[in-house]
Amino acid sequence: MGPKTAQRLALHVLKRPETEVRALAQALVDAKQQVGQCSICFHLSADPVCDICRSKRRENQTICVVADSRDVIAIERTREFKGKYHVLGGLISPMDGIGPEQLNIGQLVHRVNKDDITEVILAISPSIEGDTTTLYVGQLIKPFTKVTRIAFGLPMGGDLEYADEVTLVRALEGRQALS
């Protein structure tokens, strides 16, 4: 948040009645105290097991692996994915000293090994750290189940003419046969 947005919010709070401000403050404290991590997928949850993991309408055999809870929220907005998630809690970044042991990778391997999982989808951003994480996790899970990764390339509505070279290379590499 930039200083101008922060100032705008602060002035807005000062203008509201005291009861509303107290309610907001209490809500923030409650969120901090109650929201933790799901013990299965590590997504944010107020309960020990999150709604997605508890849901009986979702497929138990497919796991979508993401770096962060924000990615779960982004994928849920599509309403297309009906499986379950696993939040790694970050990306492997060797240059910053963030190794696999600091992420929820061991728990994912255990989950895949223990449950009857037919596909693991790696939905991790295309960057050097993202690719490192994808390759590392893929290597660990491949012996147990089918591993796929989401496609990369041009965004919807984007013009080919304006795409950068690196994105175009990725798009060409990830080309698919017309069905």
């Binding site: 492997i92 060797p94 240059m95 390759l135 984007g158 950068d164 070279e165 690196v166």
Partner: protein, 289 residues
């Protein structure tokens, strides 16, 4: 005076900044290491998105700012998509980038830039099984450019020439503080004269691994090859053979890489963070031998 300037650089580090920006650390030929903001680079439709990725070489147009410069335009010259297909190559690339970050300054760095690009190209195209050798050579060349490469042909203390005798139980010493290889006699002298370890050297030994160790003839032979412009591999066996040394198992290259790593950490006075993942990658069964 114009506030804009041009540079050719390779992205070595990127960190999110603000809502959609990216803070870049770029090694440029003209200005050495510089930090600049890539505005809006994290937006999906940003033209800087892909160009602000790591290991992308760009022709840049930058604008000077109060504290940080701003990337205005970027035209990609080269990227290394082959690195992203293999974990060992990708990790080795990050290892070299970290070494370059240790060495680079804010002075023109054309040689370091060219060296890094050349070694990333080698890593990208290296035959499977030779990645560790390429990494060791890249490390050696970066150390050499910094002027701190270990002496590998003469004893650092007595200046006696050292020629490894392959096929026999031949050994030499490797002393990081002395600056490279030493004869066994000098090694014994060092060990006999060693007094109680003081706190500082004890701490350095703890952080950077063994400061003085023994090496065998194959290790020294491999080390002596690293100064060459290119390593020539022949695929006579399942393992890459190297001129004059024969098939060197990965365990031997791992020892060579470890020696150079400890040496680099000592001379740059900081641990190489990427090394942990290198160990993890090359300890896997595919590389164990």
């Amino acid at each position: 005076m114009s506030r804009t300037y041009k540079a050719t650089g390779i992205n070595l580090k990127a960190a999110p900044m603000g809502e959609t920006d990216r803070l870049m650390t770029i090694l440029t030929k003209e200005y050495g290491l510089l930090r600049a903001i890539a505005p809006g680079a994290r937006k999906h439709k940003s033209r800087l998105g892909g160009r602000s990725g790591l290991f992308v070489v760009n022709e840049l147009m930058l604008s000077r700012g109060k504290s940080l410069d701003k990337m205005i335009q970027a035209q990609t010259q080269q990227s290394f998509p082959g690195l992203s297909r293999d974990l060992t190559r990708l990790t080795a690339g990050q290892y070299l980038a970290e070494l370059v970050l240790c060495e680079a300054s804010e002075q023109p760095q054309a040689e370091l830039f060219e060296l890094l690009v050349a070694h990333l190209e080698r890593l990208e195209t290296a035959p499977t099984g030779t990645v560790l050798a390429c990494l060791a050579q890249g490390t050696f060349h970066i150390l050499a450019l910094a002027g701190v490469a270990p002496e590998l042909h003469y004893c650092c203390l007595s200046r006696t020439p050292l020629k490894p005798q392959l096929g026999r139980h031949w050994q030499a010493g490797f002393s990081i503080p002395a600056g490279g290889v030493i004869t066994l006699e000098q090694l014994e002298r060092l060990e006999n004269n060693a007094g109680p370890t003081d706190y500082e050297s004890g701490r350095r030994k703890h952080i950077y691994g063994s400061l003085i160790t023994t090496i065998g003839a194959p290790e020294l032979a491999l080390l002596q090859q690293l100064g060459k412009a290119e390593l020539v591999f022949t695929q006579a066996s399942s393992l890459p053979s190297i001129d004059g040394v024969g098939a060197a198992p990965h365990s031997l290259w791992r020892r060579v890489e470890r020696l150079l790593r400890n040496y680099a950490q000592f001379h740059f006075d900081r641990p190489i963070q990427s090394a942990a993942l290198i160990d993890s990658c090359f300890a896997s069964s595919a590389y164990a031998s």
